[in-house]
């Protein structure tokens, strides 16, 4: 019995090790069904199949150098709400409290911001569609304008329930859903989480959210702990998001020029 398992294990292992060099040499290889089944338990077995630009862990677009702590500080990203409104699940991102006002640790914010920007740039590099969402009245025009400038999409008005989950009923046709949703503020004016967050999760759309000290980080894929109320802060973050989308688009153009057959 144990020998059979061992033999199976060896066979699996050897077949896996046989496929790895092949995937390294030939660029496009589909994982077979057994590998896919294994990936449901251990997703890292799919790593040889993802594209080369994702294999190496380094910062492909150089966002580590583009994000400065002093700029973030000047844009007032570190100001949170008062301590009485703090959400239990946002305490990890706080540096502390100053006379009742929460202060974010910008070193932590920078780490998460770079990660989110990297993700946006990679999505944009693969021709993804990015939707910018906000429910903040002060920043809605800025968000709309920023999305338009980089040829992406925005939704800043009232969210009709089922916009993502029930498109057939609402729009009468099959539509393409966005590949990534960026929430510039995750709370509605009533202090509840934005309804689009849950809908995006149901449709398996990765989300990026600016979470303030009173926001609920649940169901968001990439969090950016920062101030989402001050216009300076939103302007700064939008500028970075635009930069990330543009960098991805430029990289895509460059790749297409290199291999015109594709």
């Amino acid at each position: 019995m144990s020998r059979v398992i061992l033999r199976n294990f060896i066979r699996n292992f050897s077949s896996a090790s046989a496929t790895v060099p092949r995937t390294a040499t030939t660029t496009v290889t589909q994982p077979d069904s057994t590998t896919l089944q294994k990936a449901t338990v251990q997703p890292t077995v799919l790593k040889p199949y993802v594209s080369k630009s994702l294999q190496n862990e380094q910062d492909l677009f150089g966002f580590e150098k583009a994000v400065h702590i002093d700029e973030m500080f000047k844009a007032r990203l570190h100001f949170g709400h008062k301590i009485g409104t703090v959400h239990e699940n946002m305490k990890w991102a706080l540096y502390g409290e100053r006379l009742g006002v929460c202060i974010f640790d910008l070193e932590t914010t920078k780490k998460y911001l770079v990660r989110a920007l990297n993700f946006i740039a990679h999505v944009s590099m693969r021709g993804g569609m990015i939707l910018f969402v906000t429910s903040n009245r002060d920043s809605m025009f800025d968000v709309e304008k920023a999305a338009e400038e980089v040829n992406q999409y925005s939704h800043v008005r009232k969210w009709q329930s089922g916009t993502l989950t029930n498109t057939r009923q609402l729009l009468g046709a099959s539509v393409r859903l966005p590949d990534t949703i960026v929430f510039m503020s995750t709370l509605t004016s009533l202090g509840e989480s934005h309804p689009a967050i849950v809908e995006a999760t149901k449709m398996a759309i990765p989300t990026i959210g600016i979470v303030d000290s009173n926001s609920d980080p649940a169901y968001l894929t990439y969090l950016i702990p920062a101030n989402d109320d001050t216009p300076n802060s939103t302007e700064y973050l939008l500028r970075l998001f635009k930069m990330a989308v543009k960098k991805g688009q430029e990289e895509r153009k460059r790749q297409q020029q290199q291999e015109p057959g594709k």
Binding site: H68, I69, D70, E71, F73, K74, A75, R76, H78, F79, G80, H81, K82, G84, T85, H87, Y95, R98, L99, V101, I103, D105, L106, E107, G191, N214, N227, D229, T230, P231, N232, E235, Y236, R239
Partner: protein, 163 residues
């Protein structure tokens, strides 16, 4: 426009601020931005926070701070004084028209965020605005009289937070 200047990196900033040197208010912005950007790069967040105006302000209650009117809607002034939220004050009936957006005012800060816990809830409800009392307009004529030494003027003036 001034925010865009403040955001730019120092070298570029110097040139741009020179170009925008014409009005007295831009001088204040110029001095602020130079004071802020010098040596602030490569500093850790802890030291930035430690030396910020926000920390120097101490207890907020009753502090006199300088703010800039971000927006005016009828008689309501939305005053940006460098923290998270704008303070909302009524424009006085005397000389009401000089309280336009972009003007600098002196306010007495009471609370950086109006939030209160209602009975039965376990979280505060916030109004997303600061509480302050309008003291007076920082008149443009004062600034125009001695435009070369705005730093001295600020010495006898109360604290200006982050902006």
């Amino acid at each position: 426009m001034f925010r865009a200047i403040i955001r730019a990196r120092p070298v570029k900033q110097f040139v741009e601020c020179r170009a925008a040197y014409s009005t007295p208010e831009s001088i204040i912005d110029f001095v602020d931005s130079v004071a802020e950007t010098s040596e602030s790069q490569n500093k850790s967040f802890a030291s930035l926070l430690r030396h910020s105006k926000f920390m120097q302000l101490g207890d907020f209650n009753g502090r006199l701070v300088v703010g800039k009117i971000a927006q005016r809607i009828q008689d309501d002034l939305y005053i940006d004084f460098g923290l998270k939220f704008n303070a909302v004050c009524k424009a006085p009936s005397v000389g009401s028209e000089s309280y336009r957006s972009g003007a600098r005012v002196l306010i007495r800060l009471l609370d950086p965020e109006l939030s209160e816990r209602f009975l039965g809830s376990n979280k505060d409800l916030t109004l997303l605005e600061a509480d302050a009392v309008l003291v007076r307009l920082l008149s443009n004529t004062n600034i125009a009289r001695k435009p070369k030494v705005p730093a001295e003027k600020e010495a006898d003036k109360p604290e200006i937070p982050a902006e």
